[in-house]
Amino acid sequence: MEIKNTAGEGHIVIEIVGSLDSTNVSQAEEKIIPFITDKACMVLDMGKCNYVSSAGLRLLLMIAKQLAAKGGWLSLVGVCDDVKDVMEMTGFSCFFKTYNTLPEAFEALKKGGMAKC
């Protein structure tokens, strides 16, 4: 697993590469937590993440909840079909907004912000 912070249209974009499971969740958590700041809009780019285990899903949910508590939010991008399936069947999908591509996510974030006003 590898975590990269890339810039993207004023949002925090974090790319997760490889698999996210119990062997590396605490590492991932350490790296991501500093980005959870007030009103942060975080986009996790999972396009290169091929597997998310139960522990990994829990980390994602934890991030989403912490962001929400600070008035921000989390979107997932490029989640592969297998992981999407598991998220759907176990109910994790109910807590995330998912998009196919980064531009789609940015577009939605823009609209979400607008509609809110």
């Binding site: 119990s22 062997t23 139960s54 829990r58 598991v86 069947m89 176990t90 109910g91």
Partner: protein, 707 residues
């Protein structure tokens, strides 16, 4: 808060694992800061070893003995630090005496599953041939016990207001016709949620979903050449773990979350979940059975044994769980509390529950401590407790199951009497009167009320509704036991032809008989239960004991929903009718008097002449009227409802009881009429032209409302 007990005190012999003494409670494996707490009970073991495997590895990666100072009382407990809790499988080795006459069967060579395992791997994908050489077949795993329930809560619908729908998780959506993305799984049920909502049932009862081994006693049918499996699953490997093979995510080990999500989504739609639980025996069988867990951990504690150390077989499945041993009793309580608290399950149906009332020698007790504990348990306080009030050892307790006002029963007498009446047996009016009003003859003496009675005509065990009107005898040849298995007392009638028929008259009568059955079921006091698939005439081709048939015999065939739309519509509208009319759903029994000053008693009996039911030995008719002012013991307001049943082969005129001036009779259902005139939507009933008499067709049921 900083804790001072988070640091290892010991190192395992191999030097790889850091340890410290664990907490004896709770039993099982619990994630604690920095590690995992393992705790297991054995009274007679002399030593215990924790065995760790990497996921799916053939050989263990570690054997860690519990140091003697880690034992408190009869419990071995230990914290192991820095485990990869997601990828580890664990078991135990127990050393102790080998002395079968005394009840001890310790064998240090066996690796044993944790009786409190909350996730069990080894049979992760249904039907995948296991590796029989694997030294550890059913492997305990560590469970994430968190789940975001948000504001979910068990629904606590009064039991008399429920309409239960019994289903087999796999059979419900496995058939190719189901059209779901994940056939045969918990996720598949979720995909059928819109269907369940349409049908209107308010509770699903899942046949066993605890981990079991579908390959237990698997064999090939000599008749069909198909693999016969333990399909029903009334044979627990573990009590705390959901069946991995029923989960679409089982291969990822995420079955726990999948089940919880199913419960959450069902609750959101007002549908309760009842689990069929099997505490009467385990999958370890008798003396010749395998070592899975209990036998090697403390045989004498877990099983009821004969004086010379053999297994009693009150379950018909080789062994009998020692339910009234205090250790086992606590395990059962822990287990049910866990399902109620962690899975938000709304209730339980106990398979062969009479065994739960036998003492440690197998004799029935008058106040069995386990049943009493369950009735008064604080966590289970609002859970439905439903007993299958008999066992395979000959104990039949319908009406006499120890209840403490808490237990309901599968009412086997309801099923039998209703079937007899339906097929035209004479002289059933008296018995029917009891069944229709919640069986006060069975449950009135202890003031248990109609809530004690779970009414059903069909369940997983026996004919489906379609088969009940299509077969006189069982046809279990495919089970490979020369048709000797399964019940012979079916009280079924084939309507003139054995099996599938092309005769339109036979088929018409069958449809009518199915409608008659469900109409009677849904106007009866008590809690109705429907078998999944009956609402569109699902068939098992005459097999009345399909426990081993993981194939089209058992799987619900959804294509019948199209061909039998008329049956489905009748079910749907009858269910809506029951839900709309509280007078059908009293918790207490009727008092047979007018305590509301309405001019009518709460229930009155009629026949071809109003106010004159035929109670004779020849009777094949019965009618009754429920007074709407007495609904829910007078607490609710409802219409008057009149039901006429004519099970004679000729039509009969029924004189209608006269209503107060402002009201008139409207017909809601008439099974003799051709669909769609056989039943109306609630609120759109048709006013009768003739308010004084109704000509009820041969073998027909008519439901009227007065408004």
């Amino acid at each position: 808060m900083l804790r001072v007990d988070l640091h290892p005190t010991h190192v395992s012999k191999c030097g790889r694992y850091k340890l410290r003494p664990g907490k004896p409670l709770p039993f099982g494996a619990t994630i604690v800061p920095g590690g995992v707490n393992f705790s297991i009970y054995s009274h007679a073991a002399t030593s215990c070893e924790l065995v760790l495997f990497e996921k799916h590895a053939p050989e263990p990666c570690a054997n860690i003995s519990f140091p003697e100072e880690f034992r408190i009382g009869n419990v071995f407990s230990m914290v192991v630090f820095d485990l990869d809790y997601e990828n580890i499988e664990y078991g135990f080795r127990m050393d102790g005496p080998w002395n079968p006459q005394e009840g001890h069967r310790f064998d240090k060579s066996k690796i044993l599953m944790d009786p409190y395992a909350k996730v069990i791997s080894g049979r992760d994908v249904w039907g995948a041939q296991p590796d029989w050489k694997d030294i550890f077949q059913h492997r305990s795993r560590i469970c994430f016990d968190d789940f975001d329930w948000e504001d979910d809560h068990p629904l606590e619908v009064p039991v008399e207001d429920l309409i239960i729908y019994e289903m087999h998780v796999r059979g419900f959506s496995r058939h190719a016709s189901s059209g779901v993305k994940h056939p045969g799984t918990f996720a598949g049920i979720m995909e059928k949620l819109p269907y369940l909502k349409k049908l209107g049932v308010s509770c699903v009862e899942l046949m066993p979903i605890h981990e079991f081994d579908e390959f237990e006693n698997s064999r090939v049918s000599p008749v069909t050449g198909k693999l016969l499996m333990n399909y029903w699953g009334y044979s627990n490997v573990g009590f705390f773990a959901p069946r991995a093979g029923f989960a679409a995510t089982g291969k990822f080990g995420m079955q726990v979350d999948e089940v919880k999500n199913l419960v959450k989504q069902l609750h959101k739609n007002g549908i309760e979940v009842i689990l069929d639980v099997v505490f009467n025996h385990t999958a370890e069988g008798n003396e010749r059975g395998p070592y899975i867990s209990y036998r090697g951990i403390d045989n004498k504690t877990y099983y009821i044994l004969t004086p010379d150390g053999y297994y009693f077989n009150f379950s018909g499945c080789g062994n009998t769980l020692n339910c009234n041993n205090p250790i086992v009793r606590n395990m059962i309580l822990d287990c049910l509390r866990y399902w109620a608290a962690d899975y938000h399950v709304d209730g339980f149906r106990f398979d062969l529950a009479s065994i739960l009332g036998r003492d440690q020698n197998g004799a029935p007790m008058s106040s069995p401590p386990l049943l009493e504990s369950l009735a008064f348990d604080p966590v289970l306080g609002k859970c439905k407790l439903i007993a299958e009030a008999w066992d395979a050892g000959g104990l039949y307790q319908v009406g006499s199951f120890p209840a403490w006002g808490r237990w309901a029963e599968w009412n086997g007498k309801y099923r039998d009497d209703l079937r007899k009446f339906l097929k035209g047996e004479a002289g059933m009016a008296g018995a029917m009167a009891q069944r229709l009003q919640g069986s006060p003859d069975l449950y009135g003496w202890e003031r248990r009320g109609s809530t004690a009675s779970v009414n059903f005509i069909t369940c997983h065990d026996g004919f489906t509704l379609m088969d009940m009107v299509s077969y006189n005898g069982k046809h279990n040849e495919a089970n490979g036991e020369n048709n000797s298995d399964g019940s012979n007392d079916n009280y079924s009638w084939n309507c003139g032809w054995e099996g599938d028929s092309t005769d339109p008259n036979v088929n018409k009568l069958r449809r009518k008989q199915m409608k008659n059955a469900v109409a009677m079921l849904l106007v009866s006091q008590g809690t109705p239960m429907i078998l999944a698939g009956d609402e569109f005439g699902n068939t098992q081709f005459g097999n009345n004991n399909a426990y081993c048939q993981d194939n089209e015999i058992s799987w619900v065939d959804w294509s019948l929903l199209n061909s039998n739309k008329e049956i489905f519509e009748f079910f749907r509208k009858m269910i809506a009718f029951r839900r709309a009319h509280p007078v059908l759903r009293s918790s207490g029994h009727f008092q047979n008097r007018d305590y509301m000053g309405s001019g009518f008693a709460d229930i009155t009996w009629h026949g071809t002449k109003a106010w004159n039911a035929d109670w004779s030995g020849e009777a094949q008719t019965l009618a009754f009227m429920l007074c709407g002012k007495h609904a829910k013991g007078g607490k609710a307001q409802d219409n008057n409802i009149y039901v006429a049943m004519n099970m004679h082969w000729e039509m009969r005129g029924f004189e209608l009881p006269k209503l107060p001036k402002s009201q008139a009779w409207y017909v809601f259902a008439n099974t003799d009429a051709r669909a769609p005139q056989d039943i109306w939507e609630v609120g759109e009933e048709k006013k009768l032209e003739n308010q004084s008499e109704f000509l009820v067709g041969s073998r027909s049921v008519v439901v009227l409302i007065g408004k």
